[in-house]
Amino acid sequence: MTDVTASRPPVTRKAEDAGRYLVLLAVAAAVAIFLARDVVPSLTTYPDAAIIPFKDWIGAVMNWMKVNLTWFTRSLAAIMDVPLRFAFNLLAKGFKLGSGPEATVLPRLSWAGVVAVMGWLGYINGGWRLALLCGGGFFALALFGVWDNAMLTLALIVICVPFCVITGLLVGIWSYRSPRFNNWLITPALDLMQTIPTFAYLIPMLLLYGSSPVSALLATGLFATPPMVRATLLGLNKVPSEIQDFADMAGCTRRQKLWRVLIPSAKPSLMIGVNQVIMLALNMVIISSMIGAGGLGYDVLLALRALKIGQAMEAGLAIVIIAIVLDRLSQAIAHRQPAIAAREGTWARHGNLIIALGLLAVTTLLALVIPALADFPKSLTLTTAPWWKAGVDWLTLHLFDAIEALRVFVLLHFLNPMRAGFEALPWFGVLLVVVALGWRLGGWRLALLVAALGFFAAASGLWVPAMQTLYLAGAATLVACVIGIPLGVWSSRSDRVQSVVLPIIDTLQTIPMFCIIIPVVMLFRVGDVTALIATVAFAIVPAVRYTDHGLRQVPYQLVEAGQVAGCTRWQLFRHVQLPVAMPEILLGINQAILLALSMIIICAMVGTRDLGQEIFKALAKADSGRGIVAGLVIAFIGIIADRLISAWVNKRKMRSGMG
């Protein structure tokens, strides 16, 4: 009864109509501008003379930082280097004491020990099945001969994740305590950080820290922290008010309330955050191989550049194995219920830790005597590369015509016309339509926001590449929805279908963006079609998942009411389930757009021509101004789409009284 329901401003019919007319008017104006492109060319193509040199400004700032903040970046790099080097040595390289030929080398952890510990972790958190997955997965890394690089990647993750989690937790707590700080700084910053494409993070790091594991670590940290902040904020806000009241009534001090009551109560949400941090960090570590992260990502990169499909596939698979193992393991830890403690004492509390350390110590010591435990014997490793190559060769030999026909067909009849259409869009007309939509869906604030963001894209002189990005992302989202939504509908109507679809979707989501490209490149070579297919594979996940979830959470009373009213199955779907699930489905589309945008940029590696290529080139030349501006333009496109759709969803929910 303490909640004060804000009185909703009554939406008059007149205002509603005015909004609709405004949008129609804006569309008409856009068409007019397009038709009159020869008369007012400056409204169609943004005039070069009016381009605002954002990239020079940003470049200047970055250069100033580079020159004047070296002492800071150097010392930060030196500090970060210590734990990183330790982890590298521990997992992959071994500790070298002294120098020259008489240096003693302390061995790294034995592969057998690491595999055993992963198995043990799996066992205590999820029983035999998880033990088999974790231990087996890591054993496969050794078996396929990618152990060294896999451990380099893992070392980066091991150092990065705690850093992200602690930073995210602290920032999350801070913004929970200070809503104003949260609204004005943190939320916008998080939105921006999560929509700026991954590549754009690499550029300033490259500039400031050079090509080194430390810059990779920092880029990864920046990219992977936002979900932890969000999870903390969400978790703390979700703690029931009664539990908060209890903490006060028990006489907790502020600190006790936070650390003894709120944080432990929010643990499930926090663990979801940790899981996301791990997955994003892995994703980013792979991409960071471009600026010196080394490890498996570097293998993929080299192999892709040389079009060595077999090797690329092998390294890619290793990444996927690590991704799946870490994902399932962290989820199992997150979902583990506290159980009745059988015994008291040190053993009960730290027994698992002691066993894990013991396993590592024993195997590593044994490795001193038994070399096979130190390095996985070369004679036993399998390489899958020739198989993949043979497979691809067979496919290209037998299916070349069919694949090529498909590729050409998609290119000629779908992608090329769409690209031409997008490239011809007049910038001012598009801006008008977007602003009108913003005004209709979210009032003048939203209109102002999208106007500013859209204008930035035009004024930065990147309008055409922006439209090219939009075209590919739009095409991919469209295809993802056309396939994904019906699939989601099907899966929501049958548990059997769901039990097949969801695991596939889960795995797709786990695969780092970088790796999805590999098999597609094998079949379709470089170009827009490859980018489209890889992006669809990535963006289809939310389309299916949200549709399925949205339809399944329609209250059964509503469905029963429909049945009692005598609806046919189709009527029930069309008039009851679909409208109720619509907000959720729209959110899925929103997510699909954001994922498509981020994936499209990665696809610059396979030769698209758009903003991604712009960033890619900037990365090669370490041209920070250019790369960051291009990154911001992509982020702004994402934010415009996100805000418009969210506003639409909220409006729908408000109207149906579910808001």
């Binding site: 303490t2 029931p240 539990i243 009534m249 003894r260 009551v261 219920q337 506290p338």
Partner: protein
């Protein structure tokens, strides 16, 4: 625990009191109230787009009393109890505990008083999901810095008190609703509070479990003799447990009195509506329905003034004779007529309620 406050016993000291307490939600609510000098009508509030969750509430709760705040959802009872414990900062008014002003206390003083004088039980239990029963009950002691052994010993006593022994290593999610609320009760009692706030403690439970828990509460209170402030929306529950009841509507307290007073003299139609379905024989006492005693009273059978009509109804109707009513000291104070008892039993003679 009924009637412990009635009779001729000397009034016990006031434990907790508030006067002219307001909680108004809205921008600059304090200035708004101050400008109106604390005399604000519903219309004033509505015009200013404010919500008056608690309006001009004044109560005095005496030591050892079970004081019930009764109202339907949205009546402001939960806000009021949160103002009394200062979980919510009242907008205006006075609030004292043991004569100390609670509203001017610093955070440290407030923490101290909550640690030692107050306990609270919540509607949805508010157990910490990551701690087992024992640690939950010991939690208030832990944050005070009580050593592990001492606090676990005390917690075990409390767990035994609410008959949960043997389940102390379970986690809240492994317990039924009734068991969870027993944990909540044990936890709130662990610090030996003097004032015990219970915020709809049984509302989330099944009717059968609810009755069982009410009986349990009566049993506990007979042993513990705490000052209880109990929130409920269930009038039957209020009557069963209360020494006195305050009825709230739209943020205002519209009547405070013993269950019997509310039943026999409802202040408004709203109160009357609540009382109309009550089993009056169980609420009204001999003292409440007696008439002036006649000279013949000395020779009649006697009942105590505090005795409920239910307890002697069968006998008086059978004997068809008036009974004499005596007070706690044995003096005759009046007579009960069989006819009046029949009226109570059948509901005859009550004014029909206007709707």
């Amino acid at each position: 625990m009924n009637n412990t406050a009635s009779g001729a016993a000397p009034p016990r000291p006031v434990k907790l009191s508030c006067h002219g307490l307001w909680k108004v939600f809205g921008p600059n609510a304090a200035q708004f109230l101050a400008a109106h000098g604390g005399k604000v009508t519903s219309a004033d509030l509505e015009r200013a787009h404010m919500v008056g969750a608690v309006r001009n509430a004044s109560i005095e709760v005496r030591e050892g009393e079970t004081f019930i705040i009764m109202g339907l959802s949205g009546s402001g009872k939960s806000t009021l109890v949160r103002c009394l414990s200062r979980l919510i900062e009242p907008t205006m008014g006075e609030l004292t505990v043991d004569g100390q002003d609670l509203l001017t206390m610093t955070e440290a003083e407030l923490i101290d008083i909550r640690r030692h004088k107050m306990g609270m039980v919540f509607q949805h239990f508010a157990l910490l999901p990551h701690l087992n029963v024992l640690d939950n009950v010991a939690f208030p002691l832990m944050i005070q810095g009580v050593a592990r052994k001492a606090r676990e010993e005390r917690a075990m006593q409390m767990i035994e008190l609410v008959s949960l022994k043997g389940r102390e290593r379970r986690f809240p999610a492994e317990l039924s609703g009734g068991q969870q609320q027993r944990v909540g009760i044990a936890r709130s009692l662990a610090v030996e509070p003097e004032i015990w706030f219970l915020d709809e403690p049984f509302s989330a439970l099944d009717p059968l479990i609810r009755r069982e828990m009410q009986a349990e509460l009566i049993r506990l209170q007979n042993v513990l003799k705490k000052t209880i402030i109990f929130i409920t929306h269930d009038f039957d529950e209020a009557i069963r447990l209360a020494d006195r009841i305050a009825i709230m509507k739209d943020g205002e307290i519209i009547q405070i009195g013993r269950p019997e007073d509310l039943v026999s003299n409802p202040a408004t139609d709203y109160v009357a509506k609540f009382t109309q379905d009550v089993n009056r024989a169980r609420v009204l006492s001999a003292g409440g329905i007696m008439r002036q005693s006649s000279p013949a009273a000395a020779s009649l059978r006697r009942v105590q003034a505090a005795q409920k009509v239910e307890s002697f109804a069968a006998e008086i109707v059978e004997s068809a004779q008036p009974f004499a009513v005596e007070d706690a000291a044995g003096r005759i104070v009046g007579e009960v007529m069989p006819r009046d008892v029949l009226d109570v039993l059948t509901g005859r003679g009550r004014e029909p309620l206007r709707d």
